[in-house]
Symmetry: C2
Subunit: 136 residues, 2 copies
């Protein structure tokens, strides 16, 4: 079939994102974590006592949608909430959460490395800076 679409960087960007996201999801499935769960765990791990609102802003997730997401992580025993003042609550990883987060990071780092290996050498080092420029 004649298909001019893959020559559009925007189209290939979407297809590449879909393909890699699908694969990472499969690899995280044994941990019973979605990608966004792993992202949240990593951010909480790096920023103890971060609030749900701040996480949402950083990850481009609406406050309202953080509620069920954090509830799932809390119900799974991975995070805990500590009141900072009367209205804010700081998030932190539990011991189980820290362990799960480490496992997720190992999977992600392996995945990222393998992903980069698929990119032909001359282009490899340019991928991250190019992508970065498109959303930062």
């Amino acid at each position: 079939m004649r298909d001019p679409l893959p020559d559009f960087p925007g189209y290939s960007l979407r297809r590449a994102a879909n393909a890699t996201a699908a694969e990472l999801s499969l690899r995280l499935a044994p941990l019973e974590l979605r990608q966004v769960d792993a992202s949240v765990l990593i951010l909480i791990g790096e920023n103890p006592d971060v609030t749900a609102s701040a996480l949402g802003r950083q990850l481009d997730i609406q406050r309202a949608n953080m509620v069920p997401l954090l509830k799932r992580l809390e119900d799974a025993g991975l995070i805990e909430r500590n009141p900072l003042d009367g209205k804010s609550q700081g998030l932190a990883l539990t011991a189980t959460g820290k362990d799960k987060c480490k496992q997720a990071q190992a999977i992600i780092e392996k995945f990222e490395a393998e992903m980069l290996e698929r990119v032909p050498e001359p282009h490899r080092q340019h991928l991250l800076p190019a992508l970065y420029a498109l959303w930062q």
Copy 2:
């Protein structure tokens, strides 16, 4: 906030894809087309008498999900169906569809050019080949 995520190519890939897709959607909105609608119109334009199933395979869209998509385009008067045999139907652009497709292509090409301009010069030419390697 400490955030190691943007240094993961896979994460930046997803963020870049989301950001650019959101912008292209805004630009296509005046035509009352979604991105996938534009993709379908372009493919039909390049491949007269293509079938719904073949389109789905090319675009990674399930047969079942092509039905409401094509119905919308047909109801909008952009495509028409011609029986190829007893069970397959060839798709083609109507005159209105050809016009709409041209407008969409103009918007997309302008968008793609502006998107590439945002990528610093030394990285620009490497983006498409790098992305291509990740999903093809």
